[in-house]
């Protein structure tokens, strides 16, 4: 077995025990990349020598006997809207071609502090909106990998890298994660600082991550969360022991709320059947729960907030080079420019009451919500990245969400199961996810 197939946790243990060097691991990942990248096209920027130099530096540090971080020598792919001071960050637009950030994003700095190797920059859709990049689904190159974190999702799935970072404003982590058969995780809004990441929407933007096990999601999340005074939505908090909690057995067997949402009718027939069987197999552990009526408007609120805030944030880009933006992005900004402050504020104010309604649901009965991550498996074609409709509610409310590659569609492509947890119960969500994964095995 190539070390490129190892989970991050397994590789980190090998490295820390001195049985594997980071150079070997990164070399194996680069070797794998040479094989599959011509088809998958996950990378926007990858300098093999620079990755290997970081790997050797990690090995030197470990060999020197100095204490090393939890990710010592582990390569991580970084979505190309996340700034790196040593590599270009192009935000998926020709307008930012060869843009060199002055500083690392907060999350990149955290990864480096934890000893990680910043492998390269992964393909994003244009400005993390809907216009696709070049990436293809590793399970079938005629199908979309999803977006906007297309390259990160595909690189992890194709075993080019064990871990990767993405971002989600609508459904840009959970959807590509599900389409590519990854484990993908979007923690509670405000847990991971977004400083140095292309800002689309302060209210909606989240950092998320891709891995090949729940343990790896916990390992990575534990390094990324934290207060950053430059991100006004982060707060000083005690460190959350993601790995320890995710590894525990739940003290009592969890209960799930299966929520179809008002968009269930649009789910593919084979996926509907698969979720039906999943719910059936969970027996008494799951109950179908109707979404409370006010939440039915949440899709409109999310669109209103996203359009208003993206318009304000992308205004400089639109002014400088609007004609080099895709028609779809330009249309969003033109709609956003007409939006009224009253409608924007109304959407913003709807968020807190909805959060409180869900808090009650969790307090009263359930450990997690089960819901599809998308309408089905990755759609055929590379001209679109699929519909985020099954993610936007949880993004709007900043609730932690994880997708698990537990099923397959009729076409053989991965079919994810999305679990959504209570805000700030992130580690418990991963613990519940691990229980579910074991229960279904």
């Amino acid at each position: 077995m190539s070390s490129a197939q190892l989970t991050a946790a397994a590789a980190a243990a090998e490295i820390q025990a001195g049985r594997l060097s980071s150079e070997e691991l990164v070399s194996a990942c680069l070797e794998r990349t040479r094989q599959v990248e011509p088809t998958v096209q996950a990378w926007q920027f990858l300098d093999e020598q620079h990755a290997l130099a970081q790997a050797r530096a990690a090995d030197d540090k470990r060999r020197s006997g100095k204490p090393v971080g939890a990710l010592c020598g582990i390569p991580v792919g970084i979505k190309d809207i996340i700034d790196t001071a040593d590599m270009p960050t192009e935000n998926g637009t020709v307008l930012h071609k060869a843009r060199m950030p002055r500083n690392d994003a907060a999350v990149v700095a955290k990864l480096r502090a934890a000893g990680a190797v910043i492998m390269g920059k992964t393909v994003t859709t244009e400005c993390a909106y809907f216009n696709p990049g070049k990436t293809r689904n590793p399970h079938n190159p005629e199908h979309t990998p999803g977006g906007s974190s297309s390259g990160s999702a595909a690189a992890v799935a194709a075993q080019m890298v064990p871990l990767a970072l993405g971002s989600q404003t609508a459904g840009s982590v959970i959807r590509p994660g599900a389409f590519c058969g990854d484990y993908a995780f979007k923690p509670t809004h405000g847990l991971i600082p977004r400083t140095g990441v292309l800002m689309l929407s302060r209210t909606l933007d989240h950092i998320g991550m891709f891995a090949r096990s729940i343990e790896d999601l916990a390992l990575l999340a534990e390094e990324l969360v934290g207060y950053d005074e430059r991100d006004p939505d982060t707060r000083p908090r005690a460190r959350m022991p993601f790995r320890a909690i995710a590894a525990e057995e739940p003290p009592i067997e969890p209960r799930f709320a299966f929520i179809k949402t008002p968009h269930w009718e649009r789910v593919d027939a084979d996926a509907k059947e698969a979720y039906g069987e999943l719910v059936e197999s969970l027996g008494e552990h799951v109950e179908e729960v109707e979404l409370f009526p006010s939440a039915r408007e949440a899709w409109d609120w999310q669109r209103t907030i996203m359009e208003a805030e993206m318009t304000a944030n992308l205004q400089p880009l639109w002014r400088e080079g609007g004609e080099r933006l895709s028609e779809r992005l330009r249309a969003l900004i033109e709609r956003g420019r007409e939006m009224r402050a009253l409608d924007y504020q109304r959407a913003l104010r709807s968020v807190q009451p909805a959060i409180e309604s869900f808090d009650e649901l969790f307090t009263e009965r359930y450990d997690a919500i089960i819901t599809p991550p998308a309408l089905g498996t990755a759609p055929k074609g590379l001209g679109a990245t699929g519909d985020p409709v099954f993610c936007v509610l949880w993004t709007l409310l900043g609730m932690p969400a994880v997708t698990l590659p537990l099923m397959r569609g009729a076409n053989g492509l991965p079919l994810g199961v999305q679990l959504v947890g209570r805000r700030h119960f992130d580690a418990r969500l991963l613990r519940t996810a691990r229980w579910l994964e074991s229960a279904l095995r």
Copy 2:
């Protein structure tokens, strides 16, 4: 001398020493009220028996030997946009006539916890905007008391009550405080929780206060600041020892920046002269400082934010009974409904950089800014409350501001001096204010 003339700190000391009862103090204040209220018209609601019952309860508690709060037995006037569970809160509009809140506002609960007597509700302009109530200036009833905290400013000035609460979204504490010859103080945005107060603008609304000495402002502020999870702009913080710090001598003599702002030309001639003399008398302690260029737009930003947020907050009132609102308030809401989300967001985003520019000014050289609180003394006439133009910048940036009744205009009416401090250096601002007051005596 009537005990109604005592400062709150002096009265509190007398009460705690058993030399004065709250019942005597409140009786004296009520007696004074009977004399001057027919002219001043500061109160929207005042139930003498209810005030006296609270006073007797405070006396009983003190006599029982139980520990009492810093405001034990001290009567406080409450602006009638601040909810009281035991008195109506009408928000200055006939649409809320006889409205009985279910709960005390957070600040009222804090006052009760500190032992204060909630004397009554003071007149506010309509919804704390510009349409005046019935109150007149105690120094000359043909002149406005200023607004929107008209009754609170007038009640303290007329010695009907030693302390009163107000609120400021543009200039509604500092301006009436200056017009009535009070000491008035608006602490840093987010220090005092606004739960249970008519919300006009989350970004701009501040609780402020009126007193007859700096020591009293410190005494009152110390009881009001605090974290409240229901006000998202408050934060858990260590308790700020307002009284102790305000009473200290500054370790080095303070330096002041005299800022005329772009609106200096509109200041009354006699006031210009008075401020000129003030600056001259401070000699080396003061330097005239030009406002940095970007701050010149702050007046537009404040108006944009105020109109957008007031429109959203007053929407239910406007829908239910728009025709019972004043023309001026209706016009604001109608303008606000047309505002674009883009312009609103742009204004919101301008705030932080301006705060940082002022932080530099303080770090480099100055302890406080000296600037007029208004265009001059209280204007003649009761149809308007004067112009907040000299307050809106500091309100927008959430900086602490205090006005001191140190001068008089050519017409013999009080002329205030506004000091503005660095955000979160509130107690130091009061210390600096005390130094200035002594230096000018």
